[in-house]
């Protein structure tokens, strides 16, 4: 490319030729932008600084294999996980004192509510990828999942890495032995009915059809049923309304189900010796539960053998909508302070969309980029019962994730953990219906702390908890 701008060869040409050449160059640059940028990154003397978490190390290896000459400086950090706010605090610091030369150009972020916060005021630190990537790429993601990357003013400030959509996990063998050839439930009501049958026909066996006592169950129960407790309806405006049918529907269904012991049997049951996959007949959970929680495909006694668990399409919501919740799923962020924005954007695109990366995957995250999903399923789906069906269920679920939950700069799980979990795991346990107002209030307080406006038709929320709760 440099030769086009070589002054000597430029001078010799007529104006028309120069214009034509320029047009060709520009067209060529536009069309070849990603590849060219990656090549540029490889050649430029300043490395591209990329922050990843330990789970993405296989991605790093795959990238360096595909681009051996790339000039990348890889830095491992904690992925901004679990509300540690590493990116927030760094960006806040650098916004004050100036961005250092070793600041990251591209970051992997495991918190999918971060992008919009970091891409809007007071941060404004993320690149608008609409200016760097073609529409075809930006539209290639599952369902409405890119809403987590879109600011209220329409900027696209991140790319999704993987999706953690909720599916219905079923212990295939166990289900058949208990229910024969009956089809797996497709609604929440169906799940409850099965639970009631189990409780009646096999009392004391401890079979599990779901759980409400964990710190993120709001992502399955409320997000998956279209209950607006985290619905961004405008810039810095969130709807938090526990009186809506999506909320009341799931609450009354579960509270009146008569199912006992909805809470789980160990603290954070996902440790060894905790959640017995052998007792789980079915459970709504993110698609990474299959390996990470039920330990499908791991040798006993740590897990269950291949072909035990299968994923089915998530249950239809209590309002009859084909929506589901999600728990997790990481993002690729590009810094707006990068000195190589095109290269950084191209890099992020490569990581997020290239099959070379996404097929490597990690054993728990379906790529959000639809074109890469089949490859991932063929590699990682084989440990499950009915790998084809499981893969299809994953893909279906990924496209059904409801876009009415977030992204807001606070964690709904933390509010759930401090209000509902203590209530429903107490002895004697409280109900979801009695706890939802305190959950919603905690969310409203988080919103107000962040300076957002809360829209609600609930008297409890609008009166700040002083009446109607």
């Amino acid at each position: 490319m440099n030769s086009f701008f070589n002054v000597r060869s430029w001078r010799g040409r007529s104006l028309r030729t120069r214009v034509a050449l320029t047009a060709v160059v520009v067209a060529g640059v536009a069309l070849a932008a990603p590849a060219a940028s990656v090549a540029t990154a490889a050649k430029s003397s300043k490395p591209l600084v990329v922050w990843i978490d330990t789970s993405r190390i296989p991605y790093e290896n795959a990238y360096m294999k595909a681009n051996p000459k790339a000039n990348i400086k890889w830095v491992i950090y904690n992925g901004n996980e679990n509300g540690t706010g590493v990116l927030q605090s760094k960006f806040a610091l650098w916004n004050r004192i100036g961005w250092p030369s070793n600041a990251p150009d591209v970051m992997f972020d495991s918190q999918n509510y971060d992008a919009v916060q970091l891409g809007t005021a007071p941060y404004n630190d993320l690149l608008n990828l609409k200016n760097y990537l073609p529409k075809s790429v930006l539209k290639g993601y599952a369902g409405k999942s890119m809403s987590a990357c879109t600011t209220p003013s329409g900027e696209v400030v991140c790319l999704r890495n993987d999706t953690a959509a909720d599916v219905l996990w079923v212990n295939q063998g166990l289900y058949t032995s208990l229910f024969g050839t009956a089809p797996v439930p497709t609604t929440w009501g169906g799940i409850v009915a099965d639970g009631q049958a189990l409780q009646k026909n096999h009392p004391g066996a401890g079979y599990i059809v779901g759980d409400i006592g964990d710190e993120f169950d709001d992502d399955f129960l409320y997000w998956g049923n279209g209950c607006p407790l985290d619905d961004v309806v405008g810039p810095n405006t969130v709807e938090i309304d526990p009186t809506q049918p999506g909320c009341k529907g799931i609450d009354s269904l579960l509270d009146n189900s008569g199912l006992e012991g909805n809470a789980i049997t160990d603290t954070y049951v996902f440790a060894a010796g905790g959640f017995p996959a052998a007792k789980v007949v079915m459970m709504v959970g993110p698609l990474w539960y299959g390996t990470a929680v039920f330990e499908n495909g791991k040798a006993a006694p740590d897990g269950v053998p291949n072909g035990t668990m299968a994923a089915y399409a998530p249950p239809v919501s209590v309002r009859n909508a084909h929506i589901t919740g999600a728990l997790g799923g990481g993002l690729w962020l590009v810094s707006s302070h990068s000195t190589q924005p095109a290269a950084a954007a191209a890099f992020a695109e490569f990581m997020s969309t290239s099959p070379k990366i996404q097929k490597v995957g990690v054993d728990a995250g379906l790529p959000d980029y639809v074109a890469d999903q089949a490859g991932y399923v063929s590699k990682f789906g084989s440990v499950f019962a009915d790998p084809t069906g499981t893969g299809k269920a994953w893909e279906t679920a990924a496209a059904e994730v409801w876009n009415g939950w977030g992204p807001t700069p606070w964690s709904t799980d933390a509010a759930w953990a401090s209000t509902v979990v203590p209530a429903v795991t107490a002895t004697p346990p409280s109900t979801l219906g009695k706890s939802i107002n305190s959950f919603a209030l905690a969310l409203a307080n988080d919103a107000r702390l962040a300076g957002w406006t809360v829209k609600s038709s609930s008297r409890c929320i609008n009166s700040n908890g002083s009446s109607g709760c």
Binding site: T54, N78, I97, V269, F270, A271, V293, A364, G365
Partner: protein
């Protein structure tokens, strides 16, 4: 009444044993936990011993995590703690001497300010310190931690009390008459006699520095800069035993035994220092400190 006396004694022993269990029980648990596997921790009795091989395996898991990250943290803790202590001693001993045995304008004011600052808890100043370190571009450097650690007004106060009370004035007077300059008096007379207070200031400073969480937490921004105290909660958050989302991606190594092991590593140095210092501190210096 003799019987009453015995009754009191028995009650006292029982209560003391109860509190021994309270204070010491968790320590015993901590020592035993790394000898068990994760499922053994849940399924076996809490204080049941596991095996030494498991202990070795746990140690290896923890120290090899993410490229020996825990050992990097240990190194950082040592750098911050020793660096801070060195600076604290360097500042506190001469200052204590100066406040006690020399006279200059503003001495009483300095003493008063020292006393006030000494009582104000350190955490109140961490955020302001961060903001200040921001403006001089020190955040993220080793100095943003060592310098605040070196500011140890309590050490100054300790040295002040010590020099005021244990250095015989005639000794100093004689040395001065002999023509030794102020520095000479300090260096050749006072300092050799100050070994105990150097030890004391060093001990308290070291323990405080090693266990400090908030300041290094705020001042560092890279995994590789954390001391152990700050790294420990990071391990907690990366453990599938605590945070199930961390189980995604095949790097999960840190379960309950590893967390206990990491905690053990984090407290081992201070524990050792306590053990060695216990004779002077617990029995000697402190018990007799309020004696006339």
């Amino acid at each position: 009444m003799l019987a009453r006396r015995y009754a009191f004694r028995i009650i006292a022993i029982l209560v003391l044993l109860l509190f021994t269990v309270f204070f010491f029980g968790p320590v015993v648990w901590l020592l035993i936990a790394p000898t068990k596997t994760d499922s053994q921790i849940i399924n076996k009795a809490p204080l049941a011993f596991g095996s030494f091989t498991t202990f070795g395996r746990t140690f290896r898991d923890v120290t090899s995590y993410e490229g020996n990250l825990v050992l990097t943290w240990l190194k950082n803790s040592a750098i911050y703690a020793f660096g801070g202590t060195a600076l604290a001693v360097l500042a506190a001993i001469p200052s204590g001497y100066g406040l006690a045995l020399t006279r200059f304008a503003g001495r009483r004011a300095l003493l008063a300010i020292t006393l006030v600052v000494m009582i104000v808890p350190g955490t109140a100043l961490v955020l302001p310190l961060f903001l200040e370190a921001n403006t001089v571009h020190l955040v993220g450097t080793v100095w943003s931690i060592i310098l605040p650690f070196g500011f140890f007004p309590f050490g100054v106060y300790l040295a002040y009390i010590y020099f005021s009370t244990t250095i015989p004035k005639d000794l100093l007077g004689a040395a001065r008459i002999d023509g030794a300059g102020e520095w000479g008096v300090f260096w050749r007379i006072a300092l050799p006699l100050a070994v105990p207070v150097v030890g004391l200031v060093g001990f308290f400073s070291f323990v405080a520095n090693w266990n400090n969480y908030y300041l290094p937490f705020v001042m560092t921004y890279d995994n590789s800069q954390y001391p152990l105290q700050v790294g420990l909660p990071i391990l907690l958050g990366s453990s599938p035993s605590i945070n199930p989302v961390a189980a995604t991606g095949g790097q999960a190594l840190i379960y309950r035994p590893e967390l206990a092991m990491a905690t053990l590593i984090a407290i081992a140095p201070v524990l050792l220092v306590f053990l060695f210092a216990q004779r002077t501190l617990v029995s000697g210096m402190l018990a007799g400190s309020t004696k006339e």
